[in-house]
């Protein structure tokens, strides 16, 4: 379990209530096997939050615990970082080795594992993200989506329990984005995933959605619960997913049209076709 307890953070020396990207009393829990999407506009504090997950930043007040280990305790920091893998926005900034498999091996090598174990982990991780056939390729010859999958393989080779993605889809083309989201859907059984984005459509896949604004968690629940706020979502700098917007308009005119709020095109069309 990854646990944020009343976490406060600000950049600079003194607490500045107007500072952007600060955190003001953030509390939540991420369990293993759970897929959580964190939504927030630019400057809402979402990247600051991501950096707290593995101790890249530590709280000024409150605490962050990963499986009971406090991120402020330097003696457990490496174990925390093994358990919590971070993937960032720019696929070009995260790969360092000259071939794909060497890049994935970098983490396990630093754990001091025997070569046979490293081999096994690299092969497994590349298979998991569907990149086995690219193992000998140079990273710069890959597409953005492929690079992000290699970055995730590098994290998976550490056998993490949690995966935190900070706008990892933002620089991808639509096909690369679909590839990555599909992979997250497959990985959710094995690791806890915190996917940070401002793309509301990506939140529809989550078990749970949290909205952060001005450094505070302002909404939390299943996608259906959170998006029921309707147009009020704009006060947090977000928009409704397209299908939800259509469904809420229809629901106003036809109150018995839906038993639950449809989120996907399929759910909307099924509800329309069974209504009469």
């Amino acid at each position: 379990m990854m646990c944020f307890e009343d976490v406060h953070f600000w950049y600079g020396e003194k607490e500045d209530p107007r500072a952007v990207a600060a955190l003001r009393g953030v509390s939540f829990v991420l369990r293993e096997g759970e897929f959580v999407v964190l939504l927030g506009r630019n400057g809402s504090g979402k990247s600051t939050l991501a950096k707290h997950c593995n101790g890249l930043l530590v709280p000024r007040k409150g605490r962050v615990c990963v499986d009971g280990m406090d991120t402020r305790d330097e003696s457990v920091l490496w174990e925390i970082r093994r358990r919590v893998g971070l993937v960032f926005q720019n696929p070009d900034n995260q790969l360092i080795a000259t071939t794909v498999e060497e890049d994935v091996a970098f983490g396990p090598e630093n754990l001091g594992l025997p070569p046979s174990e490293i081999r096994k982990r690299v092969d497994e991780a590349l298979a998991r993200v569907g990149m086995s056939e690219y193992r000998k390729r140079e990273p710069h010859t890959l597409s953005g989506g492929q690079k992000q999958r290699v970055a995730i393989a590098g994290v998976l080779a550490m056998h993490p329990k949690y995966l935190v993605l900070d706008e990892a889809t933002a620089m991808l083309d639509p096909e690369g984005r679909e590839e990555l989201l599909q992979l997250l859907r497959e990985l959710r059984k094995d690791v806890g995933i915190l996917h940070i984005t401002h793309n509301v459509e990506e939140a529809l896949l989550a078990d749970r959605v949290m909205v952060i604004d001005n450094g505070e968690i302002v909404a939390e629940g299943s996608p259906r619960e959170v998006f029921l706020v309707g147009k009020d979502i704009e006060k947090w700098g977000l928009e409704l997913p397209q299908i939800v917007e259509v469904a809420l308009l229809l629901w106003k005119d036809y109150p018995d049209l839906f038993s639950v709020l449809p989120l996907s095109p399929d759910e909307l069309v099924d509800a329309l076709c069974s209504y009469s």
């Binding site: 630019n42 933002a170 997913p241 299908i243 917007e245 996907s264 209504y275």
Partner: protein, 291 residues
């Protein structure tokens, strides 16, 4: 027409073992005041094409003519083309370097010899055109601003040349929903108020639906579709064939069509809502039809 692209081919590293043919006999025309989206998957030649529109790249075969002038001219005439066709690259804020927003936006016109009050008027106009408050922001460092504001400063620094055509490569990439909506609305205003011609390069179907009237699709360096945006959005098979993923709205419309409802491809949630009311729900409840 304003821009003519005629049978243009272009190969990177031509005559080497690493040669990559990026454009193969591309022809299209763009008229004044149009808003055209250029679509296609990564590597289809979109960026190579737009760099031909202001003479950053010269065609190896064929020709590009802007307002009657072939882009292979040199000297003042080429400068004229680059002033008429403003190019905004992807993540343009990465190229900013000045100390204040004013200096950043003033850079291009100053190099064109604009000075004094006229320069100030231009900077003010360009900033206000993209929705930036001139007085509040002109003396700030561009790097203190939010992502959406920085993007708009970068676009203002091209607008300050008073181009007739604005070419934007993925202008909303990385912006949050508010930043994106604000930018797209400003571009629409610029078209309406100043008759600006807009060429948008994008993978994003929602952006295209919001501002383009016409779609040009490239695939492996060739134009494979050129027509009205609604016509392109009417065929799911064709969109997917060229690597364009339909928006959830379009997906819902395609599903409804497959079930026998003749809904037209919607560009906005409101349009899909109206289509459903009119063609799905009204048909089921004929007595509740609104007259």
């Amino acid at each position: 027409m304003f821009i003519l692209v005629e049978n243009v081919s272009f190969t990177y590293l031509a005559n080497t073992p690493f040669a990559v043919q990026a454009l193969r006999g591309v022809s299209l025309t763009i008229s004044r005041g149009e808003s055209v989206a250029i679509l296609g998957r990564t590597g289809c030649g979109k960026s190579t094409l737009v760099q031909h529109l202001n003479g950053l790249l010269m065609p190896q075969e064929g020709r590009v003519v802007v307002d009657g002038v072939d882009t292979r001219v040199r000297g003042a005439a080429l400068k004229g083309i680059r002033q008429k066709v403003g190019l905004v690259f992807q993540y343009p804020e990465d190229q900013m370097f000045e100390e204040t927003v004013f200096r950043e936006v003033a850079f291009a016109p100053r190099n064109m010899g604009v000075e004094g009050e006229e320069l100030e008027a231009r900077v003010r106009w360009a900033m206000e055109a993209v929705g930036l408050n001139y007085e509040a922001l002109k003396d700030k460092s561009p790097f203190e601003l939010s992502g959406g504001q920085m993007r708009r400063v970068a676009i203002a620094s091209i607008l300050s040349m008073k181009p007739e055509v604005l070419v934007l490569d993925e202008p909303t990439a990385g912006l949050d929903p508010q930043g994106r909506t604000a930018l797209l609305e400003r571009l629409q205003d610029l078209r309406r108020q100043w008759g600006l011609t807009v060429v948008l390069v994008s993978h994003n179907v929602e952006d295209v639906a919001r501002i383009a009237e016409r779609v040009v699709v490239l695939e492996r360096g060739r134009v494979v579709f050129d027509g009205p945006v609604r016509e392109f959005f009417a065929c799911e098979h064709r969109m997917r064939q060229y690597g364009i993923i339909p928006s959830p709205l379009l997906q819902a419309a395609f599903l409804l069509r497959a079930r026998g409802f003749e809904v037209d491809p919607p560009l906005t949630p409101l349009e899909l809502y109206r289509e459903i009311e009119e063609k799905v729900l009204a048909r089921r409840k004929p007595c509740s039809v609104k007259v």
